[in-house]
């Protein structure tokens, strides 16, 4: 215990430090690190090394090796670099290695050296080559900034959602800036660069000159600059040996220190002691290290959340450890164990030496129906590895049929996708699949597929009704659905302006109805054609509108206009039943108030509808006098009603009593209202009483 402080050394006057080895690097490097491009991922992540043969021009023919080590130097991957010359390496926040090539192509590798994808930084970069490149991290993701041979900057703030931004020109920039860095302010990535004694800030719209407040005069060049991890602070190293520290907004100076060294430092970075909240800049030269501190900072960020930690374990394929952590922390299944298992399954499908059956079974055994596991995501991964059959097997385990659809479509299993979409009950999904199928299949096959899926068929028909009428017709044709074809042509006839067109469409409809063995509809349609032709003739001859009237209304109009002969003819031609004709004439003549003609008509033969309707209609026209004429002719069954209609309550009572009809008696009684009917009411009551006695 007494030598507790033995290994502490003094640092300056008030601080002590000690140095001890945590672990030794396991790697076995053949050459010095200075010959490598090096990139270490944040938070103790992996380290990537690429021997840099492109530095020396002669060695360009040798293919270098890209090596990835864990933070402790355990080899993770090693692969022969077969692509073009690399300018810069860097790790994304998701621990993907970004290799920026001279031609502006960025290749993306996983932790285990697996190639993921590549993208280009654009044509301008390709033409002018990459002079320098930086990979940077913001809260939105990892970005790439490039300085081209033409001294222009291009950047993408998030390589996950690639949007290239070419920055404006820096006026008068003839050579590369002495140093530059990326700043991130108000969610926008900017570039700070130094040209001689001047500093410029570039955002996507403008280039503006900036001055650090309180910087000692005499600076003719900036040799190094460094921005803190959170983009809050900035340090500048000048050719006067001065280290300026301030806010990255360049609005405030924190401190300034002259170290009296004018040589450009190899490296300058911000660091902080975890607990003290103190910030400092570390500057390194070939044989010297300097720590410059500033005032304490009050904000401490917790960057590495538990989710990120788990992600990192998953990336390192340490699934059991990750699961143990989840269980220990009692994370909800969906966020914890399920997610890890899903990742494991995605890894599992990449094992090409295991058969589809075995992989599918193994995955299902482990995952079962754990909540939050998406079998369709795993299947998508399998398909991504070229294992379509495995993907289909895995999809079978997906309980939500809707989730299966997008992948099935991608795999060109559209018919299966259609059944799954229908199963999901989501009509939008069904419709999406239908449009896929329509493009994929020829028309005949497409229709056949629809035929077996009534739900999809109705949906598509509804769409066609509004948007593709011809297709609708083809659909009915394909199914030999003559009934619907008939209806289709009838609807089409309404759209025809000219009568010939209408008749022609109706003829087609009638033919279809015959084929459908719907003789009624066929005959009705032919009648309609006949009526149309006739109406047109009437229009020509009589000079008034008849088209689109019903048969009944056509005849009524003729009568109202006094063309009785024509009306009779029409009624015969279309075999209008007697009863209808009598109603029709009765109503029309009463409307005309042609009482004479009405009486003549009533006597033309025995009325098939009786005479009560005459009474009713006359009363509707408020002609009691005429109504009474007909009331006398009403048969005994309806006599009471007729008499009541014309208001003859007393006589109605007499008839009802005579007929000894209880219902009629009640009816008359209910009409006995005013004082005048008092006697009649008594009479009925007496008759009733008498009837009961008997």
């Amino acid at each position: 215990m007494d030598c507790y402080t033995a290994n502490w050394n003094p640092l300056g006057e008030s601080a002590f430090y000690r140095k001890y080895e945590l672990y030794s690097m396991d790697w076995d490097l053949k050459e010095e690190l200075r010959d490598y491009l090096v990139a270490a991922a944040p938070y103790g992540g992996p380290i990537a090394l690429l021997r840099n043969p492109w530095q020396k021009e002669k060695a360009a023919s040798i293919r270098p090796v890209l090596e990835i080590y864990s933070a402790s130097g355990m080899p993770l991957a090693s692969l022969l670099w077969k692509s073009g010359p690399v300018v810069s390496l860097g790790w994304s926040a998701e621990e993907e290695l970004l290799c920026v090539q001279e031609d502006g192509v960025v290749l993306v590798y996983g932790l285990h050296g697996d190639f993921r994808r590549h993208f280009s930084m654009g044509n301008e970069v390709l033409q002018n080559r990459v002079l320098d490149a930086r990979i940077f991290h913001t809260e939105f993701g990892s970005g790439v900034a490039i300085l081209t041979g033409a001294h222009r900057f291009t950047l993408s703030a998030n390589v996950g959602d690639l949007k290239l931004r070419r920055m404006p020109e820096v006026p008068g920039l003839q050579s590369a800036p002495s140093c530059w860095t990326i700043l991130c302010q108000d969610r926008v990535a900017q570039i700070l660069l130094a040209v001689g004694p001047d500093l410029y800030l570039l955002d996507h719209a403008a280039c503006s000159a900036v001055t650090p407040p309180g910087l000692a005069p005499g600076v003719s060049s900036f040799l190094q600059m460094a921005v803190s991890f959170t983009y809050r602070h900035l340090a500048l190293f000048t050719d006067t040996g001065c280290i300026w520290m301030g806010t990255a907004s360049l609005k405030e100076k924190l401190c300034e220190f002259n170290c009296n060294i004018r040589a450009p430092p190899k490296q300058m970075v911000w660091c902080s002691r975890p607990r003290s909240k103190e910030r400092a800049v570390v500057v390194a030269w070939e044989r010297r290290l300097m720590v410059v501190g500033d005032a304490p900072e009050s904000i401490q960020y917790k960057q590495l959340t538990i989710q990120v930690l788990l992600d990192r374990l998953v990336l390192r394929r340490l699934y059991p450890l990750a699961i143990q952590i989840c269980e220990y922390l009692r994370l909800p299944e969906v966020q914890g164990v399920s997610r890890i298992l899903a990742h494991w399954a995605c890894y599992k499908v990449q094992q090409k030496d295991v058969s589809d059956e075995d992989v599918a079974r193994a995955i299902n055994q482990k995952l079962g129906d754990t909540p939050g596991v998406s079998y369709s995501d795993i299947a998508a991964r399998a398909y991504g590895c070229g294992r379509t059959e495995l993907a289909i097997k895995l999809l079978e385990y997906e309980p939500r049929s809707g989730e299966q659809v997008p992948l099935l479509l991608k795999m060109k299993r559209s018919k299966l996708a259609l059944s799954k979409a229908i199963e999901s009950g989501d009509t939008d999904l069904v419709f999406t699949v239908l449009l896929h199928l329509k493009n994929e299949l020829n028309r005949g096959d497409f229709f056949m597929t629809l035929r077996n899926q009534p739900m999809a068929l109705s949906l598509y028909r509804q769409f066609c009704k509004h948007q593709e009428l011809e297709t609708l017709k083809d659909l009915y044709n394909q199914d030999d659905n003559h009934q619907e074809l008939g209806s289709f042509h009838i609807r089409a006839s309404y759209a025809e302006e000219r009568i010939e067109g209408r008749v022609a469409a109706l003829q087609t409809a009638a033919d279809a109805f015959y084929k459908a063995k719907n003789e009624f509809a066929a005959k009705a349609t032919e009648d309609q054609m006949r009526l149309l032709r006739l109406q047109r003739r009437l229009e020509e001859e009589l000079g008034r509108q008849f088209l689109d009237l019903s048969l009944h209304d056509t005849v009524t109009t003729l009568i109202l206009d006094g063309h009785n002969k024509r009306a009779e003819q029409l009624a015969r031609d279309f075999r209008i039943p007697d009863k209808r004709l009598w109603w029709l004439k009765l109503t029309a003549l009463a409307d005309l108030e042609d009482w004479e003609e009405l009486e003549k008509f009533s006597k033309s033969k025995k009325s098939p509808i009786g005479y009560l309707p005459f009474v009713e209609i006359c009363m509707k026209q408020h002609n009691k006098y005429e109504a009474k004429k007909y009331a006398s002719r009403v048969g005994p069954e309806q006599k009471v009603k007729a008499l009541l209609l014309v208001g003859d309550v007393a006589q109605a009572a007499d008839v009802a009593i005579e007929r000894r009809n209880e219902a009629e008696l009640s009816l008359v009684l209910s009409h006995c209202t005013g004082a005048t009917d008092g006697a009649t009411a008594d009479k009925i009551q007496r008759a009733r009483a008498q009837a009961q006695k008997k």
Partner: protein, 617 residues
């Protein structure tokens, strides 16, 4: 008189929250298009919108002018146009024509389309086909439940009926499932679920899936509503086709209640203006008569008027202080009551003018005969006479359908002759109407084998194993028979009445049809709730062609409070009538339940048949 709720009746949940949610979402959507803008509203959405956000709220969110979406060029000069429409292709094409006209004129404006209650892929596709997908932004206003009254929620989707039951289009099922999901998130899970019908089953299953995907949200909550019952309109067409005789139904049949309010014309308001009147529980006069048989209403109203007069008369003999009290506290209420009373008396008079004539009596008599299956020939001639006299086309169609359903289809001779008569009378275009009605099962022809019905039902009674059931199912799929007579007997829908049925003191739900008929839909609901299952209703289900389409998912142990277990949400897919609502309100009072109604739209016979009619465009 009227329906006071039992003292032990459970409290209804507060549905005004749905309105607030819809309003907030609409405002949010409007703010997504900052600055002044003109708003184009589809006609069908105007009344529902009015119940959610009035013009001044819209103005507050920088809506300048309001236009109705109709087929003509827009006169708007605003730089920003916002469209609020149902997701119909017709609407999208209209919008496309506006945008393309602007393009031709070299004009650039901002366009935003808000689809309610959701957007459909087909609509976006049409935007793309019309070449304007990039020019407009699309949004959804998930406004699917409008509380029309304290116990009535409407989706205001009248097209649901035709889309699903005629065209077989299932697009709205998702909307229904979403609406149910919203209700369960707001008012807790439903521990007991029942349903009958294909659409009910699909909606239920889709809703369940939604709940599973978002599990955890509702699990911990205490249920507020103990039961939910889903019912397809095609399980019971008969009730919807009958003439309504309870006051609210009669007002709907006569004046058409639209989105919870009715336009009373000058003959009712006894002024020179029409008046839009909200009809709901807040109208104290209306709430006392809405469920009453019409024959009682006038008497009730006159009694009420006399009482009111007496209250006014109390003024005489008051001293100054009492008078001051009277004026400041009572007078306003009395005046309000007076206003409402005179409106309803006016409405009553107008209805009586139309309905108490002999015609209406005869009509009701015929309907009852059809329901009971008596005097079929006489009824057929009655319908013929209707057609010959050109009584309204919808009215004739209604009777034809009622005859068809109650008789298992028309006999071939009548089927043909009635249709011929109809086409001659009302116009040949109705050939398509008949084709629609046949497809929907509303107006059919008796199949030649149908005389076997009696034998077949006897056989199925003897053989109850599944195989036999399958055979009959296969049979019925050929021609889905309505089997109304047999169902009516099984469920005792036509009450035996000795003497007069006292409509003042109803004894069962039949009172809503003058004591002649218990609504089939309501009887089914009553039976299932009593049993808490479909047990013992196998034969009924078979007759309804719903053997495979009925479900009951009942909680094993009731975590729900006894209060919530007496709250029942009934979901009518395809619409419900005010008569059904009144009947169930009556049942609720008898049993100590309270019913809450959710319907795709409030319907009646005319709306139902208009949805089936083909009119020349």
């Amino acid at each position: 008189m009227s329906f006071p709720h039992r003292p032990d009746a459970p409290e209804l949940p507060d549905f005004s929250m749905l309105k607030r949610l819809a309003r907030d979402q609409l405002i949010y959507l409007l703010e997504q298009l900052p600055g002044r803008k003109d708003l184009f509203i589809e006609a069908d959405l105007m009344s529902p919108l009015d119940r959610i956000a009035n013009v001044s709220i819209l103005k507050q969110h920088e809506v300048d002018k309001l236009y109705k979406v109709e087929n003509r060029p827009a006169l708007s000069s605003s730089e920003q146009l916002c469209f609020l429409v149902r997701p119909r292709i017709k609407n999208v094409r209209y919008i496309a024509s506006l945008v393309n006209a602007d393009k031709l004129a070299g004009r650039t404006r901002k366009y935003k389309v808000i689809f309610s209650p959701q957007k459909f892929y087909a609509c976006e596709m049409v935007l793309e086909e019309e070449g304007i997908f990039g020019d407009v932004s699309c949004d959804e206003w998930a406004f699917s439940l409008l509380p029309l009254d304290v116990d009535l929620l409407s989706m205001e989707l009248p097209e649901f009926f035709r889309d699903y039951f005629l065209e077989g289009d299932q697009r709205w099922i998702n909307t229904v499932a979403q609406a149910l999901h919203l209700l369960s998130t707001l008012y807790g899970p439903f521990p007991n679920c029942y349903g009958i019908g294909r659409c009910a089953k699909m909606s239920y299953e889709l809703w369940r899936k939604l709940e599973e995907e978002e599990d955890g949200e509702t699990k911990g909550r205490r249920p507020e509503i103990g039961h939910i019952f889903l019912l397809d309109r095609d399980v019971d067409f008969v009730t919807a086709l009958c003439s309504q005789v309870v006051y609210e139904g009669l007002v709907d049949d006569t004046f058409r209640i639209k989105c919870g309010s009715v336009d009373f014309g000058p003959e009712i308001t006894s002024s020179d203006k029409s008046l839009k009147v909200l009809l709901n529980a807040e109208d104290k006069v209306f709430s006392e008569i809405r469920n009453e048989h019409f024959s009682n209403v006038f008497g009730f109203l006159s009694q009420k008027a006399r009482n009111l007069q007496a209250q006014y008369d109390r003024r005489r003999g008051m001293d100054i202080k009492q008078m001051k009290n009277f004026v400041s506290q009572e007078l306003k209420g009395l005046k309000q009551e007076h206003r409402l009373l005179s409106l309803h008396i006016g409405a009553c008079e107008s209805i009586m003018k139309k309905k108490t004539k002999q015609d209406f009596q005869e009509l009701i008599k015929t309907e009852h005969a059809l329901l009971e299956g008596f005097r079929v020939r006489e009824s057929t001639s009655y319908i013929e006479e209707h057609i010959d006299r050109q009584v309204s086309p919808i009215e004739s169609l209604r009777l034809m359908c009622l005859l068809s359903i109650t008789e298992n289809g028309l006999i071939p001779k009548d089927y043909r002759s009635l249709k011929t008569q109809y086409l001659q009378s009302y116009g040949p275009e109705h050939l398509l109407t008949f084709s629609n009605l046949r497809r929907a099962g509303l107006l059919t022809e008796q199949a030649p084998g149908d005389t076997l019905t009696a034998v077949e039902s006897r056989v199925s009674k003897l053989v109850t194993d599944k195989a036999a059931g399958k055979i009959t199912d296969a049979f019925s799929s050929l021609a889905k028979r309505s089997n109304f007579r047999a169902i009516s007997k099984k469920l005792n829908l036509i009450p035996r009445v000795d003497g007069e049925y006292d409509l003042k003191v109803p004894r069962d739900m039949a009172y809503v049809f003058s004591g002649a008929y218990v609504p089939l839909s309501c009887r089914v609901i009553e039976q299932v709730l009593e049993r808490r299952s479909w047990q013992g209703l196998d034969e009924v289900l078979r007759l309804l062609n719903c053997s495979e389409l009925a479900f009951a998912d009942v909680a094993k142990e009731d975590k729900a409070s006894s209060e919530s277990l007496r709250l029942i949400l009934v979901v009518f897919l395809g619409g419900c009538t005010f008569s059904e609502i009144s009947a169930l309100r009556f049942l609720g009072r008898e049993k100590g339940y309270r019913f809450i109604f959710l319907t795709t739209a409030v319907t009646n016979s005319a709306r139902l048949l208009e949805a089936m009619s083909e009119v020349k465009a």
